[in-house]
Symmetry: none
DNA sequence: CATGAATGAGCGTTCATTCAT
DNA sequence: CATGAATGAACGCTCATTCAT
């Protein structure tokens, strides 16, 4: 199965039982995202978040122990959402009879595509969240993607070059490191290029040439 | 020529004329670095910087218009220092009669080496400084490295595969994007691996297989 | 008559008619006591009281106009309880044919005994509740005890020294002031000593030597 | 020697070097006292203290790590001031050729006198400060007074009744416990009586009759 | 009636910056 | 020039209380 449930309770002081509560929490998380994107990390403060979410500051603290927990949930939701999107994208793009080269191209497109929908948020999170001590995010993000890709590649190890006998795991690792590395630096400098097909293909080619037999 | 002068005046309220002023500025910049590395961005505040530098807060504001300017100079110096180091490293490692494959390996090592001397500072800057609006840093860093590498590769375009006729510029771009991407994500997750030779060689192989003729 | 009815209605928004209401009120008062003893005055907040009492915050405000009223009732009940205990204790300990000296010793023991059952609550109330504006408590407490004692001493004025012709009222005043004074300062510093019999006897001796004939 | 130096540094973040700093600290401490007396503990908040002291809130936090430290210094100064006053008062009132009875009367007057100059502050501190966790204050206060009195009584043990052979220490203990007890409860109920000479004399008589030979 | 989600004034504290000495 | 005392806007957070359901 692709994607896994998110343990939101970890970030919440009490489980929301009514729809009203859930709406409040959603509004708070979305306000956090919005402010982060529009004003950067410096603008993210609890009073402003509450105001923007249309609730009082007291309400925020009914559901979240502190600012960190709220930001944590936002990040968690973002990462989880991207994993779901990645899973769905892979499901659509891949078929078992594809050869490895084609598959690599599709994997790269799928990976980049997850950052195209809300590139400003991807970027803002990448830039700002580490600064607030949520370093693990990037790692979790990377690790979960790696697992998805490894699964997708499971039956293709026969098409790898010599020296890559360990097969899918290693390819997944290389692929994810290179692709995420490129995504990260692109997000930081010129995120429009993430939508450039030629750029994607070039990146896929980088991976393919690395793993194909000589 | 490798490396270019740094326009420090851009960050300073007045040009330091005596050695004493220069010492004060150096102390402030170094204190900023130290605090950033030891306590993260959250610990970087002007009062603490001044205290650690052994000067009064008033003195800090004699030389810098605001906190941003001081941080800016620190970053600028760091990037410039790395460029000089990279230039020197390339100068040592490269010779004109190397073939392209060997050169790629040396280039990758040179690029990674610049982050090995003060990896905590590289990492801290990457993680924390963008958050304070110094986004350009990474780009400047990347761009300057790209120029250095392009220069080094100038006469090797004959050894590239077809489809890379544009030669050195493109290779430099790919190389720098991939390598920096990997460096960035490694700094964020597991910076000890930056010193792992096998890791460096694998990265060089990635690049080499991308650009070599079929 | 020993002890008088407590006017609980003064603290309640509406008279509880069913047992269920009375249980709710009791639970709230007891939760308040518990929290005060365990966490001090700082821990006493209405949300926590309601939670600990197992009712909703809204219910608390159905019965009490505000926090002060709830605390007031708790204090009132405590003081009233102590008066009843003191009355009962005197009833047990005293008999009409005792001489005054013996009576003094028994009175002192009775007074101290009322603070031995829940010394932490006595202490917590003494320390924390005045701070919230319930100053009168201590006076009421003292005054009611004085009345009880005065009654007990009514027929002993013949055994007093000269200069104490006013008899029981003055002795009661001195006794209560000295004993409560000592109880108060002992509660604040070293409440274990309240159970020390030698300590009680010394205190009784203090009073006795004061009032006895030369 | 009567009275001992106060370790104010324990409460301050940095030693005040200029008169200006000392004035600021004094203003803050006095503002704290004033607010405590006028509005009770509930009115004591750092913003108001700063405002009333005529300085900015930032200045308060230049000298005090937190609210507790400021309150601590105020209490410390008050207790120390009272000790000095008590010492001076004893010095004036006592002479070596006094008999014990006279001495007891003077001691009681001296003890009560220290609470007559600023009875509202004595009372406010007694009522409010314990509630904020500074319980030790009362004990320190009592203990220091006990030492002063013990010293004053040093050569009078010959005039005690049998059973008080331990002499001065025990008398000092009894005296201080009874007198402070009475002072405490009087402060809480009717502090005007602290100035009532007949009341003082009655209290002295209580003590004297306790310790005198039969 | 009971519930508990929501409110918001106000608290303790921080830190970039100014300015009298 | 250097100093460091002073400033004050703004932050994270609490808790007594209200009110729609």
């Amino acid at each position: 199965m692709l994607g896994e449930g998110v343990d939101e309770a970890r970030y919440l002081l009490k489980e929301p039982k009514q729809q009203r509560s859930r709406d409040t929490i959603d509004a708070l998380v979305e306000a956090t995202e919005l402010i982060l994107v529009e004003e950067g990390w410096a603008g993210v403060n609890t009073n402003r978040i509450a105001e923007r979410a249309g609730v009082s500051i007291g309400t925020l603290y009914q559901y979240f122990e502190n600012k960190e927990a709220l930001v944590g949930l936002m990040v968690e939701r973002f990462v989880a959402g991207q994993q779901v999107a990645l899973g769905a994208s892979l499901w659509e793009r891949l078929s078992e009879d594809m050869d490895l080269e084609r598959m690599i191209f599709e994997l790269v497109r799928a990976l980049m595509w997850t950052h195209q929908e809300r590139p400003e948020l991807s970027r803002a999170l990448l830039m700002h969240v580490p600064a607030s001590g949520q370093l693990g995010v990037v790692n979790v993000w990377t690790e979960r993607s790696r697992v998805l890709i490894e699964e997708a590649l499971r039956f293709k190890s026969g098409e790898l070059r010599e020296g890559m006998e360990e097969g899918a795991p290693l390819v997944a690792q290389v692929l994810i490191t290179a692709v995420h590395g490129v995504i990260f630096s692109t997000l930081m400098s010129d995120w429009e290029r993430l939508k450039d097909e030629a750029f994607m293909d070039e990146l896929a080619r980088l991976v393919w040439r690395y793993i194909r037999p000589d």
